[in-house]
């Protein structure tokens, strides 16, 4: 037993050192910088700074845009997944693949494509002008950021949702019909509640990257819209204020953990 424990420890060592070097140490560093000032004295100033209006506004905007994007992803993905699960499996796999395919491309590249589409003289407006329709100017506005987020993160909603819906046995739906439920009642009372785990993980997987992104907001928001991710990025790469950047990161972390706690509670509730 002792021998096998040692062997086990030996095999675990690479993963352990990986976790320590790339997860634990950076986290500790973030906490160290976050809770000290430039001179190395303990301080809560980096945390308290969030109460300043410009930071609060950024955090609020980040939350709002992430929430809207997550909701839009859910509204787009749910009907799609419902249709997919009703189709024959072979065909569904192809459609799911079509949704996953963009994930194989770099986020930067995909977001740049949206830049080209939404620009003042971009593809969208060229087409609109050709059709003698009024142009749409949403580039560098929150709407453009939402479009970018939804486009980038939709697959993360589709996958868990599709899995959850595909797991619901046909006979359960038949049973609901058999007991007198019409299509609407079957959906509301059986399909929707049974898909809650998929909704929860999809929402988590979209909301968290949306809340922390700085690339999408940078490329589609110009430099006019600063999300909390952009501010943190700027503190590190432009202002070189690692203490402030870390402090704001800790704030963001707290919101993400809160989000996960709430969702975990939601996930457990219907199972009793």
């Amino acid at each position: 037993m002792i021998r096998s424990d040692k062997v086990r420890a030996l095999f675990a060592a690479p993963y352990l050192s990986w976790a320590v070097i790339f997860i634990v140490v950076p986290l500790l560093m973030v906490f160290w910088y976050g809770f000290t000032d430039g001179a190395g004295r303990l301080s809560l100033a980096n945390i308290a700074i969030i109460t300043r209006p410009e930071y609060l506004k950024s955090l609020g905007l980040s939350m709002a845009l992430s929430l809207v994007s997550t909701l839009l992803c859910l509204l787009i993905a749910y009907p799609l997944c419902l249709i997919l699960t009703e189709k024959k499996t072979g065909r569904a796999a192809v459609i799911v693949l079509l949704f996953i395919l963009p994930m194989w491309m770099n986020t930067l590249l995909r977001t740049m494509a949206w830049q080209t589409i939404l620009e003042k003289t971009g593809i969208l407006n060229t087409i609109l002008r050709f059709l003698h329709l009024p142009s749409i100017y949403i580039i560098n506005k929150p709407q453009a950021i939402v479009i970018g987020m939804v486009y980038n993160f939709l697959p993360y909603m589709v996958l868990p949702l599709y899995n959850a819906l595909a797991k619901i046995d046909d006979s359960v739906i038949h049973a609901a019909h058999d007991l007198g439920a019409d299509r609407r009642q079957t959906f509301l009372r059986v399909v929707l509640p049974l898909s809650v785990p998929g909704i929860v993980s999809g929402v988590t997987m979209v909301f968290i990257p949306a809340l922390t992104t700085f690339v999408i907001s940078q490329m589609l928001g110009g430099n006019k819209i600063l999300l909390i991710g952009n501010i943190i990025e700027q503190e590190f790469t432009q202002a070189y204020d690692w203490n402030l950047g870390s402090g704001l990161s800790i704030i963001l972390m707290i919101f993400i953990i809160l989000n996960m706690v709430i969702e975990a509670a939601l996930d457990r509730a219907p199972e009793k």
Binding site: D169, V172, H174, H177, D178, P193, L194, E271
Partner: protein, 363 residues
């Protein structure tokens, strides 16, 4: 007692991907009957049930309930309920919520639903489990919840799709008696699908034996067992010796070169027929004790508790014999059969009926 017709299938046909599953099926089921659709897998019994339940639409033909054509009526509009093979319980609800589902959809008031849940749980012996999660129940308990969930809606017909298939033998036997009791207490029609002939014989008022999309025979369990209409039915229900024979004339048949008196008439003279003799109807005596009959040698003996199961090689055919009297391996024996116990059947007219050769050795 006048039997009132409840549901009728008229000329129902159904094919999946060009494969015919039901071919011009006609069936009448009466009120307050326990009817079993029995047959091997792929015989069309489940498809028939699904057509009655409304989950499949027949390609042609009609389904008539109480004189009303319900062929295209959606399942949720039919006064029937189904107990599904895999229970199909709602895992996000507790026992009581599962049972209440249909009543809530129907908009019944709270007190009524409470009463019904209590009544149904008592009926299926699950009192006190109202608020258990269904996934914490055993297979047998889940099946009872599925039954309770169906019967609280007071359906005209309860459809049961191999509901006992997943249970172990002892529990299955208990549930068979429970189902008979339930049917008698509720006074509704049960349509039961199974491939288990013993289950069918135990519970049914009427058995519909199906094979390859055709009804092979409809009758009471006694009729089906004692008077099988063709070799398939004989082979599928219980053990039997099915032998090629020739009807010499009325009341005389030649089996394996030996003439046997029988009770059947009207088959013509020198007609090839199928002969069915149940293993318990074969009478063995030591060779030489009496004249005539077939003689052969015992090749195998197994003690089965109630009787001995013996194989006897006689006339080039291996006979299956059940007897309380034991003859050891290698013993020379004489085979005799009471004329009344020789079941004579016409050779199948078409290939569709010719099922025995393909489904040889079902038991």
């Amino acid at each position: 007692m006048e039997r009132k017709e409840l549901i009728r299938l008229e000329h129902v046909s159904k094919a999946f991907d060009g494969q015919t599953v039901l071919d011009d099926l006609n069936l009448v089921i009466h009120e307050n009957e326990f009817v079993t659709l029995l047959g091997p897998s792929g015989c069309g019994k489940t498809t028939t049930l699904r057509i009655i339940g409304g989950f499949e639409k027949p390609d042609s033909g009609r389904v008539i309930l109480d004189g009303r054509d319900i062929t295209s009526l959606a399942p949720n509009k039919r006064p029937l309920n189904t107990v599904f093979q895999k229970y199909a319980l709602f895992t996000h609800m507790d026992v009581a919520e599962n049972i209440a589902f249909g009543l809530k959809i129907a908009g019944r008031d709270k007190a009524f639903i409470e009463d019904k849940i209590h009544y149904a749980l008592k009926l299926v012996n699950l009192e006190g489990l109202e608020h258990r999660s269904v996934s914490s129940l055993s297979g047998g308990q889940q099946q009872r919840v599925a039954i309770a969930r169906a019967i609280v809606n007071e359906p005209r017909i309860l459809l049961l799709d191999e509901p006992l298939g997943a249970l172990d033998l002892k529990l299955r036997q208990d549930m068979q008696y429970e189902l008979i009791r339930l049917k008698n207490e509720l006074g509704i029609t049960f349509i039961y699908v199974t491939h288990d002939q013993e289950e069918a014989l135990t519970m049914s008022d009427a058995i519909v034996v199906m094979n390859q999309g055709y009804i092979q025979q409809i009758g009471s369990p006694e009729d089906i067992y004692n008077e099988p209409e063709n070799a398939f039915v004989a082979d599928f229900i219980g053990d039997s010796n099915i032998i090629d024979g020739t009807m010499i004339r009325d009341r005389l048949v030649r089996i394996l070169g030996q003439e046997f008196p029988c009770v059947d008439t009207g088959f013509g003279t020198e007609q090839p027929v199928d002969i069915v003799i149940r293993p318990e109807d074969v009478e063995l005596t030591a060779a030489g004790e009496a004249d005539g009959g077939l003689t052969g040698e015992v090749t195998d003996v197994i003690f089965k508790g109630v009787h001995y199961e013996m194989c006897v090689m006689a006339g080039g055919f291996e006979w299956l014999v059940h007897s309380t009297r034991m003859f050891g391996e290698g013993t020379r024996v004489r085979i005799g059969v009471d004329p009344f116990n020789i079941q004579i059947m016409n050779k199948p007219a078409s290939e569709d009926e010719e099922a025995v050769s393909e489904n040889d050795q079902i038991r």
